[in-house]
Amino acid sequence: MMGNKILEVKDLEVKFPVRSKLLASKEEKFKIVIEKVSFSIMEGETFGVVGETGSGKSTIAKTLVGINYPSAGEIYLMGRKINFNKKSDLIFLRRNVGIIFQDPVGSLNPKLRIFDIILEGLNFEEKYTKEEKRDKVYAVAKKVGLNESKLFSYPSELSGGEKQRVSLARAIISPKKILILDEPTSSLDVSIQAQILNLLQNLKEELNLTYIFITHDFNVIKYMCDRLGVLYYGRMLEISEVKDAYENPLHPYTKDLMNANITIEGNSGFESETELGEPARNGCIYLNSCRFKMDICNRDPPMIELNSRLVKCWLYDKSQKEDYIKVKGSN
């Protein structure tokens, strides 16, 4: 069941320093990777974040566990505003928000045995005795379907699916409210992906978790999530219920994505007209690729609320109503 707002992100901005090759330039330059992104997560839901390579999905994920620091904006976890410069706030964040990193190989220390890798997840919990810790590792290994015999192997001896189970075990060995899953299955074969998706659904029920599910696979998002946010070059362009997004996508970019998605039903009969252009420097970020662009699109559109959905596009501005009707008809 979906409950209260458990996490709120307001106008998040994340930037990274850009190294200049010119020694002369003293001032530090930054590249803004996440720009004014806002969204809320409801307790118990699975919120999907989709977007193409480099759109900033992992950056958001890492910010939500305090690995990246925001350069502007606010993050509230269970009503508490997180001050990223305060150690106690960061601990509060990391205690409650777990993460499975995108790269299952790189995120497991190759020199540690699986047992010790899973134990890393208890870093913030010093109160346990050695025996209690051991019991916890065995219990969580069982929960994620990891064979006990693997606990004393090294990561290189495990299959991709087993490595993902280890990441999962490490993330949930201490109880979490929110689990961020950054492409948890994209390096896996489909039959193993299916096992992990089933496991994730079961764990969520069992442990009352809230998921933030990051992927670029639209069939997976559709199957796993309640709502989704569409990210494009660091901007959130649409937030909708999954069903709405699939059956009636609002943003031109979401429409293009849905058109491009292929399924095993073999649906690619029609031509996709989109030719992705560069992101626009001024105005709507999707301007150079958009099939529906208008004059007003040279100004950055606001996030517009429409029947409890959010869309960052001028087509849905009330003053553009005629165009909106036209677009709806043509989908």
């Binding site: 390579t53 039959s191 992906q193 999954v242 095993i264």
Partner: protein, 338 residues
Amino acid sequence: MINLPRDISHEKNLSEIILEVENLRVSIETIDKRVEVLRGVNLKLKRGEVTAIVGESGSGKTTLAQAIIGVLDTPPVFIESGEIFFDGIKIFPSNEKINFRGQGINMVFQEPLVSLNPVYTIRKQLEESIEVQGLHMKKKEIEEELSKILSDLMIRDVDRVLNSYPHQLSGGMRQRVAIAMAMIQRPKLLILDEPTTGLDLIVQRKIIQLLLKLKKEFGTTLLIITHDLAVAANMADRMYVMYAGKIVESGTKDQVIKDPLHPYSKMLRDSVPSGYKDSGPLRVTEGNPPDISHLPSGCAFHPRCPLAMEICRKEEPTKKVIEDREVLCWLYDGKQNT
């Protein structure tokens, strides 16, 4: 470079079959052991069709493609036995070292950077691909040919792309350039190893459309290697499903996807989510992909197979032909064509 003569008809008649692989066995030999990677593979590609080989990581898809075009990593990988015919000519085993790359068979590798040389501009590499054909085109004709192929591939800023080095291009653009380079030699058969893997959705869709368009325009036969069932479903006429170095099922795309015979093909299809959240768990069994150096006895799929019987643990299944399809599974024993 020697290209195959264009219309030959010795040994096997110039038929609708452009490529035939018969009982191909490939092994990897190290000091202490020999592991079979391809365990008797048969393949028949029809001229002008798109054939897809699907299967999970490590099943031997890339090895099969490398064996066909003769670029196996030898040693340690080598062909133990089997025959390969291309366009009516036996290309393996063969006494002459035939170079049939170019107008014969061409391949776009799994990682497009492998197909491209990092130190030359795209223009230089494409020009070279044309020159290799020995067609002695004039500078202007070459230029026209390049523009044509690139615009066919929906590359708009042709000049920028031509003057770039591979690392300056996006993944999708690199993949298009690699395809352009392969197509420019007008091969009869183009093998593409994971042509869309790792590309963004819209780009992936573009590449699929493009390949189908090229196939139509030039009548090129395509062999697509992929682990993505949706890609196969949207491109292929025929499909082969590989598991642990064997073809376990083949048939038309619709047969294999909509009405799979082999339990592994069924599992593959059921693994791909298609519904919304409330559509119930995915129907897969537990278990891991096989380790080719320690294959299970009998049918290699039996430890994961929900329908495994006693015999499956003991004996390897033999090929069963059912109507116009083939399947390697004991369930169909006694049900095959007579």
